[in-house]
């Protein structure tokens, strides 16, 4: 909201600099987002006389003028059709800034003539929209003086961000009231001259439902002359950023910015009856607002109607059909109090907000409607003539006076420091609370414009706000509590560290994804947002794959050819049909996804280029789970896919499926425009978390030497190494500490359809050095079982005895 500094001075004496005032306003919660100093914007712009004006030698349209802005003649090229010798004009010197456009005025050559500045139009000066020619000043304008003085454009205004609870501060008096409380300086209300006593009814007013409108005050003024506003009124409304229209409309806006009461003026002759009916809009009702747009109104919107038709959208905008025009002679001034909730709903539904709806939504002061009328009548009769011929004031709901008790001790309980009761009293009284102090407790009658004050805590905030948050002490010490453990996030962090240690780059991608990607995943139950601003991405990701693949695709296009990436994020699946959707039907799971594409080894002096394959991902995942100490709990499940040529594997933990790793199909790659193999895995992190290792225990190590025996077998091609390892492990031989695969290879010597598999057995006892006999017994058992189970034949053995400390 724009607040003009000279205007504020009408209600409170402010000698502080604009910067000081801005800092006070910010410190009490009226945050000054910008200080606009129109004086600064007019720096270097002066009143000048056109000494001569000749056609430009190289142009039919341009003129070459000599102007004197008090510092001697300057040559200027001017394109305006209305420039003439002898005129008084506004001259922007080289180095100044054009107020409207912010463009710097430079010395430049225009078609061969050097131009030293610019003669301005009123558009360029930000005065109005007229850019048909330059602004010509009156003959007696003082040569060389600053233009803003002549144009009365010397305002400082504050752009204030008003929080939604502070409807009372949406006016100059409202802002001045807060300042008066901080500065302990009196607030001056203007006193209306017009007396409402002794008038008849303006016109019949009927309010259909008290919920729509709690008060409707109106004045009928006849014999008005619609004219442009006088300079002071025009400046006032322009200084808060409004466009000056005419004396009547500007007056309603002036009063709104003065006290916060929105007003509306109807052309009385356009009202049938004349009478006013306030009613709720029916289903599908249509109405054309002042801006010329015909709108379909939401049911329940407040409609102001005359004897036969709607004439205004209550609280939001007037209608075309009753607008003030230059021929208007009799006006009806409306000063009402509309329902905040209905106003907000209608405004949101129609995407139509106005200064008026902004204030009604936040709550206006229903006790001020008549005061506002009086102020407007004073200004209108001054500027448009006319006389009041009727006043109406319908109240459907009386203003209820709220009283809130404040125990000063509770101030300290919340704020943590002692505020003097005298200071509390002063602050509240300046904010126009009426106080009764009984036994040290302040019983505060809340002024009707403060609809945000309902409870003691609200009063405490007022005290804190006006005293200044800076007065609240900053303790040097703080108490600590023994904090309970927090496992979820700690586990996610551990997973993140593990993946990064494995060389993966972390990505974070959008939760909302494109429909074509969401439905490409085999998952059912994709959830869409109902009202996305960006309609291209309406789906909540049911899997991390789409965003991972978008990342792969984008980076490949940027020339990165190797990616190892991972993401931890929430995925969403609805288990119910959308009409039965509820919080409980939606699964929100944390997932972790990995993708590999490109090269495991880049070409270098020590190695050849090697593309990633399935086993790179399998191995990295094994490493990842080892970092989490889950290597013994995670199982690769080969069932169903064993010996399959499809490169996919599912993982499980304790019999529960975690997800799978796979090489992505051509189909998926094409969808994301990726033309190299991608290996992808996605797991349910919430499930993994349940199995996280939380207790680590020391296990003593054997003092005796470890013996290794390498065995190689020739086995039929269809035997899978994993089965051999599993089988040997399942024998449960105590001294067999480890079994690992050494190599797999094929050779013509082994016969067609056979391969060689080499394994190594590590044996160790906790109680003694193993004897050859013990070792041989194990080796024999293992060889025998492998040969028998897998139709294998032993090819060779080799042994190593590693030193122990025994």
């Amino acid at each position: 909201m724009n607040i003009s500094l000279p205007w504020l001075n009408d209600y409170i004496d402010l000698s502080e600099s604009p910067q000081e005032i801005a800092s006070i306003l910010t410190s009490i919660g009226l945050e000054v987002e910008e200080i606009e100093n129109t004086r600064a914007a007019f720096e270097g712009i002066v009143v000048a006389r056109v000494l001569s004006c000749k056609p430009h030698p190289n142009s039919n349209r341009l003129h070459v003028c000599t102007v004197d802005g008090g510092a001697g003649p300057e040559t200027v090229v001017c394109g305006a059709p209305n420039v003439r010798e002898g005129q008084m004009v506004v001259f922007a010197r080289v180095g100044s800034t054009v107020p409207r456009t912010g463009m710097r005025v430079e010395r430049k050559e225009i078609r061969g003539v050097l131009s030293n500045g610019m003669i301005c139009s009123s558009y360029e000066l930000g005065i109005d929209e007229d850019h048909s020619g330059i602004l010509v000043l009156e003959e007696n304008a003082p040569l060389g003086s600053p233009a803003h003085e002549v144009l009365s454009r010397h305002d400082v205004r504050f752009v204030i961000g008003i929080t939604p609870n502070r409807g009372d501060a949406l006016s100059h008096i409202g802002v001045a009231r807060d300042l008066s409380a901080v500065l302990r300086r009196p607030l001056r209300y203007p006193v209306p001259r017009f007396c409402i006593e002794g008038f008849g009814e303006a016109l019949p007013i009927h309010i259909e439902d008290a919920m729509l409108c709690s008060r409707y005050s109106a004045a009928r003024i006849r014999g008005v002359k619609i004219r442009p506003s006088p300079a002071w009124l025009r400046n006032a409304v322009e200084n808060v950023g409004l466009r000056s229209i005419n004396n009547i409309v500007d007056t309603t806006n002036f009063v709104m910015f003065e006290i916060g009461q929105p007003m509306h003026a109807f052309d009385l002759h356009k009202l049938e009856g004349p009478r006013i009916l306030v009613r709720a809009a029916g289903e599908g009702e249509r109405f054309t607002t002042l801006d010329g747009v015909e709108r379909t109104l939401p049911q329940g919107a407040v409609l102001i109607c005359d004897g036969e038709k709607p004439v205004a959208l209550g609280g939001i905008m007037g209608g075309m059909n009753s607008e003030i025009s230059n021929d208007t002679t009799e006006v009806l001034l409306e000063s009402a109090s509309f329902n905040p909730t209905i106003t907000r709903r209608t405004s949101r539904r129609l995407l139509l907000a106005s200064e008026s709806s902004f204030r009604f939504e936040r709550g206006t002061d229903p006790s001020r409607t008549v005061w506002a009328l009086q102020r407007a009548i004073d200004i209108i009769t001054d500027t448009a003539g006319g006389e009041v011929c009727g006043i109406s004031d319908i109240i459907t709901m009386p203003v209820c006076q709220r009283t809130v008790a404040l125990d000063p001790q509770n101030c300290e309980r919340i704020l943590g420091y002692h505020v003097e009761p005298e200071s509390i009293r002063e602050i509240l009284e300046f904010l126009e609370f009426h106080l009764d102090i009984v036994n040290g407790v302040f019983h505060c009658t809340v002024p009707p414009f403060r609809n945000d004050i309902e409870r003691e805590i609200d009063l405490i905030e007022e005290i804190a706000r006006i005293s200044g948050y800076d007065n609240i002490p900053v303790p040097e010490r703080m108490t600590l509590h023994a904090a309970p453990p927090y496992n979820d996030e700690a586990f996610r962090s551990a997973c993140r560290r593990a993946a990064i240690t494995c060389g993966f780059d972390e990505i974070l991608s959008p939760t909302l994804i494109e429909r074509k990607y969401a439905h490409a995943s085999p998952v059912e139950g994709v959830i869409e947002v109902l009202n996305p601003v960006n309609t291209e991405r309406p789906c909540l990701r049911p899997s991390l794959m789409p965003s991972m693949m978008e990342t792969v695709s984008r980076n490949l296009r940027c020339g990165i050819r190797t990616l190892r990436i991972f993401e931890i994020g929430t995925i969403f699946i609805d288990t119910a049909p959308s009409e039965k959707r509820s919080f409980d039907s939606i699964r929100q799971k944390t997932a972790i996804a990995f993708a590999l594409t490109g090269y495991a080894e880049e070409r270098s002096w020590y190695s050849r280029e090697r593309p990633f394959d399935f086993f790179d991902l399998k191995g990295l995942l094994t490493t990842f789970f080892t970092h989490l100490h889950l290597e013994n709990k995670i199982r690769f499940n080969y069932d169903g896919q064993k010996s399959s040529s499809e490169l996919a594997l599912s993982l499980e933990i304790d019999g529960n499926s975690l997800g799978e790793l796979k090489e992505l199909s051509q189909y998926v790659r094409k969808l994301y425009d990726i033309d190299q193999p991608v290996y992808y895995a996605e797991f349910d992190l919430d499930l993994i978390e349940r199995y996280q290792e939380t207790s680590l225990k020391f296990v003593p190590v054997s003092r005796y030497p470890m013996v290794r025996r390498d065995l190689s077998f020739i086995v039929p091609e269809n035997v899978e190494t994993g089965d051999i390892i599993e089988m040997v492990k399942s024998l449960g031989i105590k001294i067999l500490r480890d079994i690992a695969l050494l190599d797999v290879f094929r050779h013509e010597d082994f016969g067609v359809g056979n391969k060689s598999i080499a394994i190594t057995l590590s044996m160790q006892s906790d109680t003694s050095t193993l004897t050859d006999h013990e070792i041989n017994m194990v080796v024999m058992t293992v060889v025998e079982r492998i040969e028998k189970t897998f139709s294998a034949s032993l090819r060779s053995t080799e042994s190593t005895r590693l030193p122990g400390k025994g």
Binding site: D470, L508, V533
Partner: protein, 341 residues
């Protein structure tokens, strides 16, 4: 044949060979050749037996000297290679790049969350998390946002069904934590939030927050200031200047925003701080009694403070990123720039 001459030749040979030892392997060869049981010197001792007794002492003495010299040279060579850096037989190009392992990178956002939560953990806070799809009750109602209140306009919402929405802030986790626990509660709540806005360089439909909550008896606004000032000094440096100014959030009363001096211009005013000299770093306030009532806590007994920090904003200011979209586009040329030692 004059054996003395032969010994002289051998002496030369030993010295020359020793000079050429350039590896442990060479040293070993030297040893085998001259000093081993079947080496040249041993053979000469053997041959000496055949000599005249008159020659023996002189030759023997000379051989012993040679053996000593050879052993000394051998020991020196060995020591040289065992104690000094390894030496190869062929000169190598040490400018060849080494064999490296891939380096993984953390995302700026998760890193920033980690840094911020770590500071609060050191001050006795725990971490709590909650769902990203929330009900109206948790996201708004229990947090004292009445239906149709303009305060809801501050948070444009993605709806996904009757009463269901993507949470617009991490504050609903406060309600869940209070429902599931009892005071004292001292938690920080990191997470992703959503606003239904047009995506631009300055705003995105998703971003991250860390909310904080401390509820107990006797918690005051002064405690809130103390904790947040301590946080800001840890995160932004002890020299910082700060201010708290009144603001409005439905779930806190009184409410405040905390600003620190713009660390880019030192408070003189620049583009980043919009010429104000201040940077807003977080919103905070005392838990509104209505929030306590929503979770059946007695507001006459308990007080509390809450705060919320915008992660993207914090990270963008810190790393000089001027477009929020960069954070979720995952151009790895950018992600890989960020390595925190």
């Amino acid at each position: 044949m004059d054996i003395i001459d032969a010994l002289q030749t051998l002496s030369e040979e030993i010295k020359n060979t020793a000079k050429q030892i350039s590896s442990l392997k060479d040293a070993e060869e030297f040893r085998v050749r001259f000093l081993a049981r079947k080496g040249i010197i041993a053979e000469l001792f053997e041959a000496m037996k055949e000599l005249d007794a008159s020659e023996k002492p002189q030759v023997g003495k000379r051989l012993n000297e040679l053996r000593e010299t050879a052993r000394k040279l051998y020991m020196e060579a060995r020591e040289r290679f065992e104690k000094g850096p390894a030496i190869t037989s062929v000169p190598i190009d040490r400018t060849l790049p080494g064999r490296t392992l891939p380096v993984g990178h953390q995302h700026i956002i998760t890193r920033t969350i980690d840094e911020i939560t770590a500071i609060f953990i050191s001050m006795g806070f725990s971490i709590a998390c909650g769902p990203e799809i929330e009900t109206d009750w948790y996201n708004f109602e229990a947090l004292n946002f009445p239906p149709d209140h303009p305060a809801r306009d501050m948070q444009d919402t993605f709806f996904i069904g009757n009463d269901l929405m993507l949470r617009t802030h991490t504050t609903p986790v406060q309600i869940r934590a209070m429902e599931n626990g009892k005071p004292p509660i001292r938690i920080v709540m990191p997470g992703r939030v959503f606003r239904n806005e047009v995506i631009s360089a300055r705003s995105h439909i998703q971003f991250h927050q860390v909310d904080g909550l401390y509820v107990d008896e006797h918690v005051t606004f002064a405690d809130l200031k103390g904790t947040l000032v301590a946080f800001a000094k840890r995160y932004y440096g002890t020299a910082l200047r700060y201010r708290f100014r009144p603001s409005f959030f439905p779930f806190t009363e009184p409410s405040a925003e905390m600003d620190i001096t713009c660390y880019l211009c030192g408070g003189k005013g620049c583009r980043v701080c919009k010429n104000t000299g201040w940077l807003e770093i977080l919103g905070c306030g005392m838990v509104d009694p209505n929030v306590f009532r929503a979770v059946n806590y007695d507001p006459d007994r308990y007080t509390g403070y809450a705060f919320g920090i915008g992660i993207e904003r914090t990270a963008m200011l810190r790393y000089g990123i001027d477009d929020i979209r960069i954070l979720f586009e995952n151009d790895l040329r950018i992600n890989r720039q960020f390595i925190w030692p």
